[in-house]
Amino acid sequence: MEKDIICTVCPTGCTIHVVGDEKSITSIEGFTCPRGKAYGEAEFLAPVRTLTSTALVEGGDSVLVALRSAGPLPKGKIMDCMKEIHALRLTAPVSCGDVLIPNILGTGVDIVATGNVAKL
């Protein structure tokens, strides 16, 4: 398996060419800095993303609260996580940092509120 990965570490946007299989990398080239190399390796073996969305809040000064994954989630689980988030029904007040879904889908990552909704 080989992949061209556009590096997103900095605005330069190097194209990193990686060859390998699910478990190991046999060749990596095209990066121009150590952070780029690390990014290319991670993106090839186990790509992760921070997920952000909103959840419905009842009885607050906003109908929605913004939320995020406290850490990066496996890219492949993003859509499944969205289903969990979609089902959330919160009640005001909600504060920034509140854990809304602990350990979502067993990933070890919490879904936390990033905004505040005051009780009306």
């Binding site: 909103t54 959840a55 419905l56 929605l64 979609h86 959330l88």
Partner: protein, 479 residues
């Protein structure tokens, strides 16, 4: 089933003016329109000019009506509480060939009894209009050519008609007309049948379809598209008067004029088409506006545009404005060929139709309690500080500015939604109050107006529309 003395089909400028005129008499009047709002199709997208009729074909009904209408607007607009300005028009000749045409244009104006048309020298014109092409040779000055807010004009006439007892049934399309014993008796509509002694076809673009319902379609409507640019109030190149081109054999040409609200209006094109629904703009048409108007106003900055739109004129084939009654069809009046002079003509047509009804034997008894004055919604940004203060104290919603570009408050929007002719869509609010008509084109106020419409009309946001029923803004909830 609804019953009425008079059913007017079409709530554009003409249908609304007829409806209002007839409420001066002891008559029950219903006006129906297929659209969600008054203002029709043609009446809301035109050059917003109240013409003098200087260039009409002398001796025609159109000339007679437009020439008679113009002087009525000062009093009418004062009564209806709408903006109107007699800024006057200039007709500059840029080429020698155009200069040679001026005497004939003046002669035609005199035949139309527009006696206040005057010659102006190059120097005079450049002083009046510094942005004019400096090659100008001289031109004509037509002082009574005027500008109006065409949306408010129709809304105000309709509201005044409502105050005098008329009913407006919107989103009501006429699908058929029943004739019994050589006389119209009822209209079939999408909202049920309406029995009427008189039916007046003021359906504009669709007047041939209505005429066909009673077998009187001896003509067709040929929509003529006109595309326009609206420029930002801050554009660097402005004109003070309506600047008209010298007409050619092919077209009346493209003009530039201030609007009632300080924007510049540039256009229109003239493109005949078959589709009555096609109000799209196109790159070729817009480019032709640039080419033509820059001959008059070389520095015109079309990149300062805040919107482009097109309207359709309801031209008739065979040509000419006609108001017809038929010996073999009692109770029916057919209007056709009401085109670019229609906005101006509407009030004259109202009077003409009332007179025609009398001749047809209708019982036309004056009311002694006709209300002439209509009060519009207080325009917050036009008020003095003291008045603004007073208004906010009375209604705190006037302290919430929703539209930043045109300074429109929530109070005005709520008032418009609950007005005699209610504004029930995004466009209806835009046309009355200009929220969304400014330079951000609703980017900021749009989301808030959706909320306000939903709240005040008691409908889910999914039912808030831009204008007609299928033009939904929102397709559901995110969560």
């Amino acid at each position: 089933m609804l019953k009425t003395d008079v059913l007017v089909i079409g709530a554009g400028a003409v249908g609304t003016a007829i409806t209002r005129e007839l409420t001066k008499y002891k008559l029950d009047v219903i006006c129906v329109d297929k659209n969600d709002d008054v203002g029709g199709d043609c009446s809301k997208s035109n050059s917003a000019i109240i013409h003098t009729g200087y260039d009409a074909s002398p001796g025609t009904l159109e000339s007679e009506l437009v020439v008679a209408a113009n002087p009525r607007y000062d009093q009418l607009c004062e009564d209806l509480d709408i903006p109107f300005s007699r800024i006057g028009a200039i007709l500059p000749a840029i080429t020698d060939e155009q200069f040679a045409q001026l005497p004939a244009i003046k002669e035609k104006a005199l035949k139309n009894r527009v006696y206040d048309i005057e010659y102006r020298s190059k120097e005079q014109l450049l002083e009046m209009e510094p942005e004019l092409n400096p090659d100008v040779k001289g031109g004509l000055w037509i002082p009574r050519e005027s500008i109006i807010d065409p949306f408010l004009f129709v809304v105000a006439m309709a509201e005044n008609a409502v105050a005098n007892g008329a009913r407006f049934l919107l989103e009501t399309e006429v699908t058929g007309i029943d004739v019994e014993d050589g006389k119209v008796v009822r209209a079939k509509t999408t909202a049920g049948d309406i029995e009427a002694k008189y039916i007046i076809n003021a359906a504009g673009l669709h007047c041939d379809e209505v005429a066909d319902m009673v077998g009187k379609a001896d003509y067709t409507v040929v929509p003529r598209k006109g595309q326009f640019y609206i420029l930002d109030k801050n554009t660097s190149c402005k004109v003070n008067h309506i600047v008209l081109p010298i007409p050619t054999k092919v077209t009346k040409g493209k003009l530039m004029t201030p609007t009632m609200h300080g924007n510049m209006l540039v256009g229109p094109t003239a493109e005949d088409q078959l589709d009555k629904k096609d109000k799209s703009t196109n790159a070729a048409g817009l480019a032709s506006i640039r080419d033509d108007v820059s001959k008059l106003i070389p520095n015109v900055q079309l990149r300062d545009t805040i919107t482009q739109y097109s309207g359709l004129r309801a031209n008739r084939n065979p040509e000419g404005l006609r108001i017809d009654v038929y010996d073999d069809l009692g109770g029916y009046i057919n209007l056709s060929g009401v085109r670019s002079t229609g906005l101006t003509n509407s009030v004259s047509i109202g009077t003409y139709v009332a007179d025609l009804m009398k001749k047809m034997g209708a019982e036309m008894v004056w009311k002694d309690n006709f209300i002439t004055k209509r009060k519009g919604i207080a325009r917050f940004h036009e008020l003095s500080l003291e008045e603004q203060e007073e208004l906010i104290k009375k209604n705190p919603l006037y302290g919430n500015i929703v539209c930043r570009c045109e300074t429109v408050t929530e109070g005005e929007i709520v008032d418009a939604i609950h007005a005699p002719i209610p504004a029930r869509s995004m466009d209806a609010i835009k046309r009355r109050l200009r929220a969304g008509m400014g330079r951000c084109q609703g980017g900021f106020c749009g989301p808030k107006v959706i909320e306000i419409l939903s709240r005040e009309l008691g409908i889910p946001t999914e039912q808030v529309c831009k204008n007609n029923k299928q033009s939904y803004m929102i397709c559901g909830k995110v969560k």
